[in-house]
Symmetry: C2
Subunit: 241 residues, 2 copies
């Protein structure tokens, strides 16, 4: 059984305002919900249309699930979780950090969180106007990695100035990543899908780097941001492994 107030609460959690007010977020999909439970994230409810799986899960009908989901096609699992607390002091424990300047596409952020998880990067700095990492589409695209990778919303230049990292900014027509010798302790900065990295952030970079493109084609001018992060992280890890 799902109560009217639960439906209302879950629907409201689609919006950042309510996620901030309540400190809660919604995750959908078997893999994602189970990953969050495995990571010991506190939860308020877990609903499933399948068999009760041991915890405090509620078995509900598919019809009830369709009244809760944030997606066109509801999943078999939906949980309301408590956002883990994120302490900016955790940042300094990571040698490699990713910083995203005004990322807006939730699918891209989710994908970047998943890639960071793969390469063992547990912290991402996002400029304050970036998309919220608890947006349902981010959570879904992260495929459970949202339980292991933390997004820190903060002023990027301010963090850079205060901390001793080598700063790499991705840009067009700069030094090839294959010819760059990445320092172990570094921040890799990527710009928004529409505008690239802002001048304010570029000012604080130590090195501008590019992913070289094939000479064949002059008409393509950018890569998807999640693909760029994947390629640069892979190259850094190849060098530093």
């Amino acid at each position: 059984m799902v109560t009217k107030s639960q439906i209302k609460q879950i629907k409201q959690l689609k919006y950042k305002k309510y996620r901030e007010k309540t400190g809660l977020f919604v995750a959908e999909g078997k893999k994602i919900v189970l990953d969050l439970l495995k990571a010991n994230l506190d939860f308020i409810y877990v609903f499933t249309t399948k068999i009760n799986f041991g915890l405090d899960s509620h078995v509900i009908s598919k019809k009830d699930m369709s009244s809760l989901t944030h997606f066109k096609n509801g999943s078999d699992y939906l949980g309301v979780f408590v956002k883990p607390s994120v302490n900016h002091k955790m940042l300094n424990k990571n040698r490699t950090l990713i910083a995203l300047d005004e990322i807006s596409d939730p699918g891209n952020l989710g994908n970047i969180i998943r890639t960071c998880d793969w390469f063992g990067v547990n912290h991402i700095i996002c400029s304050k106007n970036s998309v919220d990492c608890y947006n349902p589409k981010v959570v879904q695209a992260s495929m459970g990695s949202i339980s292991r990778v933390f997004c820190h919303y903060m002023d990027i230049p301010k963090f850079i100035k205060k901390n001793n990292y080598k700063i790499y900014v991705t840009d067009l027509n700069s030094k090839s990543i294959y010819e760059t010798r990445f320092e172990k302790k570094s921040i890799l900065i990527f710009g928004s899908e529409a505008n690239g990295v802002s001048d304010m952030v570029i000012k604080y970079s130590d090195e501008k780097i590019s992913i070289p493109k094939s000479g064949k084609n002059k008409n393509i001018d950018s890569l998807n941001i999640a693909s760029s992060v994947s390629i640069v992280l892979s190259e850094k890890f190849r060098q530093n492994k």
Copy 2:
């Protein structure tokens, strides 16, 4: 002015059945529409809510545009284009080919098309049950690269058997891509988001390869397919450049 029959036709082109019947597809967004025109793709109509841009474009109201779009938020540009003819003989001219075994997510395919364009890979082999590359979401995510990269829907093992390429299949826990010496003439095969590469395809591979993950984390078991393609293509081009 948009006629009722134009609205009907454009709406129908959301579906693969109608795209196959008519040989047409819809592209939306300024960059994408202009890229397709630049690539000299034949078109039936181009609509814009902005100023007429020289060609046979029709200036229409935002309200009319909202009756045509395939997306929640309509763009300022929408074109109905003729699908370019794809000849499988073109495949042999490329030294690097990507093959996708049952890819289903349109955003991922669009992103892969864009990444291939970046690295100068102009042809992608897709197994017959893969998502259609003229699906509106694929076209959008490809950001115009759909005009330069061609998807060939065919039986992957059949193509492999008939042609002389070195075949690399991505798999978990295989040889690291960083330790693989990629041959110039090769096909890189990637599996579906849900099931990986099918046994039927693995059978014809020469080498199984993996993107190594950080030792820190045992809970993550896969990368997004578009990220995987980006990383493997980047590593191959780093070696072969």
